[in-house]
């Protein structure tokens, strides 16, 4: 096991060579991952005044409802406009039908401020133009309700990319800020934006640390309601809190914002480097920065250390899922001493993942894409102590004697930041603990 942690030079301007010692392979075949519609499950909880209307088939309705199945709340802030035979054969005008359904929905739910029309595989295959529909409906309902559209279809988006498409569509709807010509030598008007859905409590913790560093006016996108428009212009610098936001980043860049390259805020190492990137960009004094990070870092180190005994030296295998695999693998390897057998990822964004790839132990086996049958064979051959995989594979593997960590929990639990580092480690130690406790 390699314990060398490459030195991270935070102020390098050039894009570092992304992990050239790693074996990154590609494979194609059956992909056992969700489509982007699944993002609606957490997005509708985060953006509280929005409603997500999938325009699709009964399969889409069934998926969203089954994925949300554990949530037994009164009435969800999502639904599906189910396309039927009449729409397909042209007996009914699909656009008129859609308008009718939207009117029905908005009459029933007067609390909606933003309506997302979400494209699906069927709506795309039949080329139903949802951007035209959104424009049309927007003209009818604005300003009471803003109508936007994005694609969450499986043919276009893999799981967490659904959030990327949603956030990108929100940014597109923001008015373009007039170009500011006033010079700003002291960066007094520089603003920091944090991008990617985070649990409310994580945002609040991060905000406290920023304030302690003297960075004020930090905004989080997406916000808790869709009416809030963050400042995005040439004076904006942004940190990605999540690794699946390619399109969102592109839109931000197009509006003049600058991305701060950093690893993701998972674990002590990732979170430290992430805050350090912010401090550097915002001109925070090193001493002030270190003081702000001191106590939280120590807490995180204490909390994660408790799990090291159990996880050290254990072999872990990642099936692809959320794009969080590489930062998670980095955290588990560097801070908890786990051995990485294979790290499967649906897709690697070479720039957004560059800092993470640098931090991975050399010669990490990374598989981009998936052929699930071959991957299952490789997994079994590797005899891992812990397998991170989706719920379609977890129980079958458990029944065969493998210990699994179900990957979706990582998307539905607060794991970012110092005060969650221990929780994140515990998510991986718990399956092993359980095995000890209840194994015959």
């Amino acid at each position: 096991m390699n314990t060398v942690i490459p030195i991270q030079v935070a102020n390098k301007e050039s894009t570092p060579t992304p992990g050239s010692t790693h074996q990154i392979s590609q494979e194609r075949g059956q992909r056992e991952v969700f489509c982007g519609l699944t993002g609606i499950i957490w997005l509708h909880r985060k953006i509280q005044d929005a409603f997500f209307l999938v325009v699709g088939s009964r399969t889409c309705a069934h998926l969203v409802q089954s994925a949300a199945g554990v949530m037994i709340f009164a009435e969800p802030r999502f639904g599906t406009a189910i396309i039927d035979d009449r729409d397909l054969s042209g007996i009914a005008d699909a656009n008129e039908e859609l308008d009718r359904v939207v009117n029905q929905l908005l009459k029933r739910r007067r609390d909606i401020r933003t309506l997302f029309l979400v494209g699906s595989c069927p709506s795309e295959v039949i080329k139903l133009d949802l951007s035209r529909a959104a424009q049309r409906l927007n003209a009818q309902f604005n300003p009471a309700v803003k109508v936007l559209n994005y694609s969450g279809s499986g043919i276009e988006t893999t799981f967490t990319q659904g959030e990327d498409a949603c956030l990108a569509s929100l940014i597109e709807s923001f008015p373009v800020v007039a170009h500011r010509d006033e010079p700003d030598p002291d960066n007094a008007h520089k603003k920091l934006l944090i991008v990617g859905t985070l649990a409310d409590v994580v945002e609040d913790q991060m905000q406290r640390i920023f304030k302690a560093m003297g960075i004020h006016g930090v905004e989080f996108f997406p916000g808790r309601n869709s009416q809030h428009v963050p400042e995005i212009d040439e004076r904006t610098v942004y940190l990605l809190a999540q690794p699946f936001l390619a399109d969102t980043a592109k839109r931000l860049d197009a509006r003049g914002a600058t991305r701060l390259p950093a690893p993701y805020p998972l674990g002590v190492q990732g979170t430290s480097a992430w805050f350090e990137a912010a401090a550097l960009a915002m001109g925070v004094d090193d001493a002030v920065r270190d003081q702000a990070l001191l106590a939280p870092r120590q807490r995180a180190q204490t909390a994660t250390a408790k799990h090291r005994n159990l996880l050290q030296g254990k072999k872990i295998f990642f099936f692809p899922d959320s794009q969080l695999e590489i930062p998670l693998a980095r955290f588990l390897s560097n801070e908890l001493g786990m051995q990485l057998t294979e790290v499967g990822v649906p897709y690697i964004h070479r720039q957004h993942m560059a800092q993470e790839l640098e931090l991975l132990p050399p010669n990490t086996v990374i598989m981009e894409g998936q052929h699930v049958e071959r991957q299952i064979d490789r997994c079994e051959a590797a005899h891992p102590d812990l397998v991170v995989c989706g719920l379609g594979l977890a129980n079958p593997l458990e029944a065969k004697g493998y210990t699994t960590k179900w990957s979706i929990e990582l998307v539905f639990t607060p794991i970012q930041g110092f005060d969650q580092a221990g929780d994140l480690a515990e998510l991986f130690s718990r399956p092993l603990t359980r095995k000890h406790k209840i194994a015959a």
Binding site: R31, T38, V55, R58, T59, E75, P76, S153, R299
Partner: protein, 559 residues
Amino acid sequence: MQLTLWTYEGPPHIGAMRLATSMKDVHYVLHAPQGDTYADLLFTMIERLPRRPPVTYTTFQARDLGGDTAQLFIDAVLQANERFKPNALLVGASCTAELIQDDPGGLALGLHLDTPVIPLDLPAYQRKENWGCAESFYHLVRQLLKRQSANEQQPAGAKPAGPSCNVLGPTALGFRHRDDVIEISRLLKDLGIHVNVIAPLNASVSDIERLPLADFNVVLYPETAHTVASWLEREYKQPFTKCIPIGHRGTIAFIREVLALAHLPVNEALIDTLSERSHASWYAASVDSTYLTNKRVFIFGDASHAIAAARVAHEEMGFQVVGLGTYSREFARDIREAAALYQVKALITDDYLEVEDQIAELHPELILGTQMERHIAKRHGIPCTVISAPMHVQDFPARYAPQMGFEGANVLFDTWVHPLMMGLEEHLLGMFREDFEFNDESAPSHLGGAKKSPAHPSTETHANEPDTVVSPSTPHPSLQVQAPLALQESPSESVNLSGEQKMHELVQVWTHDAELELKKIPFFVRGKAKRNTEKYAKETGVSNITIETLYEAKAHFSR
């Protein structure tokens, strides 16, 4: 286009998946876009199957649509056949693949595999899950048996001596199918009838080939087996049962029917002995059960379960059936016939909003429905029991809990009565309405006793009331296991705190920020977080509890 907040059935290919997953040696190759693999979770997580559903998906993406998706499908068929070596291959398309018209059936047949290939044509924009299951089962059985007779083969194994039957209809992801099969198999055996084949649950291709050997068929679930049973009657002269063995009387009617089909004499003494397994009729006749008499009940579900439930409710429990409906349009006539018996108008709809409207209008005291009706019941504060698919993980209990047979009658009595206020308690509430603790707003004490969620403010059909804002209500204690703990924690906590304060003379003060921070912790662990923080503060001599204290405690206690 239909606005759908919840769908009662999945698309038809899910029905085909249920068939494939039920069987031991059948594999399904499904032409589908990336993301359709969500369906695997239905089996591994709701039913907790310890194996993968035997399905291979092509999971095509945008880049594939520009190229040869047909080749993708062919490769998938060849690889699946090679790897899994099934004894039959189902092939078909999900809704999106249907639109790209690759003809998976034709492509697979063109490969001339040794494995029998059964093409499935399941129109996704017209039909739904149960139909898809029934249709797939029919095509599988028909094709395998046709192949057998074309080859002039006889089914392996001899015709059973003595009367025999097949049991048709139980599937993977069926509502209590696992336990119903055990109960009814035992019953048939006790009646002297040999069970030849149970299909499709745990059946193999060779089992299907032995179907013709039995004298008649028991159709447990018409939704999945009616098409096959009708065909077997035409082809092999096998009659099939019409009685569904749900409830005490339903089970006895079923017994009489199978004895007749088996040409066995009716042994009343034996029936009496067998029926002693059910305590339900005595419990329903117990003197305290008069509180159940004329309780107004609304029933909705798949047709077979809804019709059976209405009969049990009316004839065995003394309830008053005020509403009866189904989402299975194929069985509309049966539901209407049943509804006429109780002088109610049948509700035939798959629109959850319509069901909700009718419930709001009727004010029932008990709802027997699906998980969808359970959502409605929570919002309206009405007791509810699930009696039909669609269902969730709680509807696959670890314990033996059939809906059918005499044990099923016991299960029905227990589960229907459980959410209701108990008789004597009802009396006391009625007599002493002003009680500050136990009043109309309380949930039954055996369910936690805390305040019920309020009934929905607008009892009119609120879908048409533009000004009514629909807001989520707090979960009904009877319907969420954890809620009673959380609801009870707050009042007792404050009592403890002041008690502790008095005892230890160390006044712990939470800063306002820390209190707000505490509220961000999910309610079901909040009490523990509070206690741990106060404990840690006391141990470290801190009297002013700040946010830092909260997180220091969290790190200190983290395991």
